[in-house]
């Protein structure tokens, strides 16, 4: 695998991966904060407001037309949730100039625009432009309300909220309706300034680029000329830590909770939230990955084979791992009357794993499947970025080749040991209103 090059530009931490296999240059710039109820909503609103305009291009139309002129350079900004942390992620993709005749210096120009989105937004009297903030507040409220529309993701989000209500991870990624109203152009601007001052900006650049050139351009655009809105040189927080929420995975467990929610739906959604005794930072994390794979990560897994193929109860039945927290989530879409049967079959699979009912094939297929996924992740520009982020969050340095090696060495005994720490915490069922 190709090597990442690292450059410390003070408040900007630059990571470059030069590779000829892509025709596009991809950029990710990321700010990281602990998830907090007081700030989650304002932070979630930020990306949309920042994309509304810069000092130089003060409307969204002008700004995006400037990007479009660079052969459709694609800019985006979003908030995300990783364990108990919230990130603001700016992304950009621009074609490499070699593939378009007479296109000039696309990358330098695109980075200049991209940097302005982050460091030079449209500001008036120490506040974002009021009309932009007010407009985005309305849209953001709708965005929060619309979360109910997609029932698959709604059910999975609700299960997380019910299970982790008292932890940062239980906070909604987009924040809360009632908090949106409290935000104004000035408070939001101050929130952004604080985030910039308290956080490093981690910038990742991947594609057919010359690293020295990238370093020079980034230094110029993101650090030197930014004036009073310059990103701080000596950011106080060398690393963000998840704080107290991070060890809740191992807290003593109460009895499992069942939550039933009723909406006018055709299909029931049965979601389970489980706690495990491991997580990304732990030595037995590779065994947890394998456990999740055997349970529900693949079409050969127990959930797919038993809930779907054998019992014909569902179209989808799978599990996923929230590695940073060591949480496991099971999701399935079932006929409403099949709740008891589906719940029982899922329970049997969990018991089977804890009892060591794992075939040689199940273990080997899962290991091969995971290795394949890790190798394929090399074809996505930002896999390395995610692993470095996890290292900052947990202190645990893992690499893809190392994970491959560790996953291959996991034994049935290791999986069983992890399985015995897995406990159902929350059962969430979304069903019809009934009569």
């Amino acid at each position: 695998m190709t090597e990442w090059l690292y450059d410390d530009l003070g408040s900007v931490q630059l990571h470059v991966l030069p590779t000829e296999k892509y025709k596009m240059v991809s950029v990710l710039a990321q700010l990281e904060r602990p998830l907090q109820r007081e700030r989650v909503t304002a932070t979630a609103l930020l990306p949309q407001v920042l994309l509304r305009g810069t000092e130089q291009y003060d409307t969204q139309g002008k700004l995006l037309r400037a990007f479009d002129d660079l052969y459709g350079a694609r800019v985006g900004a979003r908030v995300n949730k990783h364990g108990d942390l919230q990130t603001v992620e700016f992304t950009m993709q621009v074609p490499h100039e070699a593939f378009i005749e007479g296109s000039g210096q696309l990358f330098g120009e695109a980075i200049r625009l991209f940097s302005q989105v982050i460091t030079a937004p449209k500001v008036e009297n120490a506040a974002f432009r009021k009309s932009y903030v007010e407009g985005e507040k309305v849209l953001h409220q709708q965005r929060i309300e619309n979360l109910v529309n997609d029932k698959v993701s709604y059910a999975s989000e609700r299960c997380v909220q019910e299970m982790c209500g008292s932890e940062p991870y239980g906070l909604s990624r987009l924040g809360y309706l009632e908090d949106v109203a409290q935000i104004d152009a000035s408070s939001l601007y101050h929130t952004y300034q604080r985030i910039l001052q308290e956080s490093f900006l981690h910038v990742y650049v991947v594609g057919p680029v010359d690293p020295a050139n990238v370093g020079a351009i980034l230094r110029r655009e993101l650090t030197a000329d930014a004036g009073p809105r310059n990103l701080r040189g000596s950011a106080a927080t060398a690393s963000v830590s998840a704080g107290e929420g991070s060890d809740t995975a191992t807290r003593p467990l109460a009895k499992e909770r069942v939550v039933v929610e009723r909406l006018d739906v055709n299909q029931g959604k049965l979601n389970l939230g489980l706690r495990t005794g491991s997580s990304y930072a732990a030595d037995d994390y590779p065994a947890l990955i394998v456990y999740n794979g055997i349970l529900g990560g693949f079409p050969h897994s127990k959930l797919f084979a038993n809930v779907r193929e054998k019992a014909s109860l569902a179209y989808y039945a799978s599990s996923r791992l929230e590695g940073l927290k060591g949480l496991l989530f099971i999701q399935s879409g079932i006929q409403i009357g099949d709740y008891e049967r589906a719940r029982a079959i899922i329970g049997e699979q969990l018991e089977a794993l804890a009892d060591g009912a794992i075939t040689d094939d199940e273990l080997a297929f899962t290991q091969e499947g995971l290795v394949n996924q890790y190798l394929q992740s090399d074809d996505q520009p930002f896999t390395g970025a995610v692993m470095q982020m996890y290292k900052r969050f947990t202190g645990r340095d893992r690499s893809v080749p190392q994970l491959i090696d560790e996953v291959r060495r996991v034994t049935k005994k290791d999986v069983i040991a992890v399985a015995q720490t897995v406990k159902v915490d929350t059962v969430y069922f979304l069903r019809d209103r009934g009569v």
Binding site: M24, P95, N149, R262, V265, H300, N372, Q376
Partner: protein
């Protein structure tokens, strides 16, 4: 094997038609860890009526059967095909569209073995009364899942409005009633008709040596005895001249109304080059007028008629075509009127030259980004090939496009008589939840 070189793109496509008629395309992509293979038949949800080749009889099959068949292909006498791929760690899947069914895998090792698995399972049907019945529960839940999905609902409602009983409006998975009627004999009939190698395309994308890939495929195919098959006779009703309804509405448990609308093509050109030009022109003016950087897009948001999800798309097949506009809206009817008004204005005044040039550049860049995804390029390449078009030549179609031609296409397409709309409203009851 024949190589087509695209110099500017630094890409090549190797192709060969095997003796049994199978068309093979190989796109080498240096430096990629994964190899992606897609094995596709020209057979999708719109193919309901055809001549079954063995008995030469004309038959009509239940809605959703192409998709049902796709599910059932994964079962063999020895068990589930997913297990065969799992041995090598490969990821396998399949999908059905209006006019195609694709079986696929991506792998990082054991390419030859995975190719054999792919070719062998797709060329070996195994249907029993039991395994067909069992699948009805699974697909039934797939249908139910889509019934609750507002994006899916609003889209198929629009297709119903455009096409009425014409097959383009058939839900790809069918309905609970239509799949209940499916038997193993129906599946074998469809299989015999549409899974002959001469009706299929294999596309392989990855860091591969084309010569060694084709050898594996050739050797595999030579072991199987296919009798030559004459061209498949499919029967479609005539494309309706006008939409069957101009508005369809329904309700779901959602927070905000969702609306889609657009114009149906009155007829479709039989010449693939002209279709490719029309597609390029349509996509370009839609982006120039309604893309994220357009004044109109921002105005729709500022006026409270749309949110950032407002988008447009254009679909053109050999048989039918239509444009789609829309997204979430608190005032769907006002949004429709506003967009229709703007379209009429631009049809008269034409697309501004600067916007035309900008969208052209943008389309070139977006095309290049497609080439960075093995799966993306394979799927688009295949879909275009089945419609007799070459995606890698689309950059040329784009460069050659003139503003006059584009404006002519805009005027021709925006025809009130071809307009239809679809709205999904929230339930009357509050969408609020109750727990017990």
């Amino acid at each position: 094997m024949q190589e087509t070189r695209y110099e500017r793109l630094q890409e090549s496509v190797f192709q060969e038609r095997l003796e049994n008629g199978l068309q093979v395309y190989i796109l080498p992509k240096q430096g990629y860890r994964q190899t992606y293979a897609g094995f596709t038949t020209r057979y999708g949800s719109i193919d309901s009526e055809f001549i079954e080749p063995e008995r030469q009889t004309r038959i009509r099959v239940p809605d959703g059967i192409a998709h049902f068949l796709e599910h059932k292909m994964f079962e063999e006498e020895h068990g589930d095909v997913f297990m065969d791929f799992a041995k090598t760690g490969a990821q396998a899947n399949a999908f059905t569209t209006f006019d195609s069914t694709t079986y696929l895998f991506s792998c990082t090792t054991a390419l030859d073995e995975n190719l054999e698995i792919l070719l062998n399972f797709v060329q070996h049907p195994y249907f029993t009364d039991e395994n067909v019945e069992k699948e009805k529960g699974i697909i039934g839940q797939e249908i139910k899942m889509y019934e609750d999905n507002p994006s899916w609902r609003v889209y198929f409602q629009l297709l119903k409005a455009f096409y009425g009983t014409y097959p383009a409006a058939i839900d790809i998975a069918g309905t609970l009633d239509s799949i209940a009627a499916i038997t193993k004999e129906d599946l074998y009939n469809c299989y015999r008709t549409f899974y002959h190698p001469s009706n299929m395309v294999l596309v392989v994308v990855g860091d591969v040596r084309p010569e060694s890939v084709i050898q594996v495929v050739r050797a595999n195919q030579e072991k199987k005895s296919y009798k030559p098959q004459s061209p498949i006779q499919r029967f479609y009703p005539t494309l309706p001249e006008y939409p069957s309804q101009d508005m369809t509405e329904s309700r779901l448990a959602i927070a905000q109304p969702r609306v889609l609308f657009g114009f149906k093509e009155r007829r479709v050109d039989s010449d693939p080059d002209r279709r490719q030009q029309r597609e390029a022109a349509m996509e370009l003016w839609m982006d120039a007028l309604f893309g994220r950087s357009s004044d109109l897009y921002q105005a729709l948001i500022d006026e409270g008629l749309a949110d950032q999800g407002f988008s447009t798309e254009y679909e053109l097949t050999r048989l039918y075509g239509h444009s789609v506009f829309g997204g979430n809206s608190n005032k769907p009817r006002e949004l429709i009127e506003r967009v229709k008004g703007a379209l009429q204005e631009f049809a008269q005044a034409g697309v501004p030259e600067a916007d035309f040039e900008r969208s052209k550049r943008k389309a070139m860049g977006r095309f290049l980004s497609l080439l960075d995804s093995p799966q993306g390029i394979a799927n688009v390449f295949t879909a275009q090939k089945l419609r007799d078009m070459d995606i890698l030549a689309s950059l040329d179609a784009l460069t050659q496009l003139r503003l006059d031609d584009l404006n002519a296409v805009l005027r021709d397409h925006v025809d009130d008589a071809q307009f239809a709309a679809s709205i999904v409203w929230p339930e009357d009851k509050s969408a609020g939840a109750s727990s017990d």
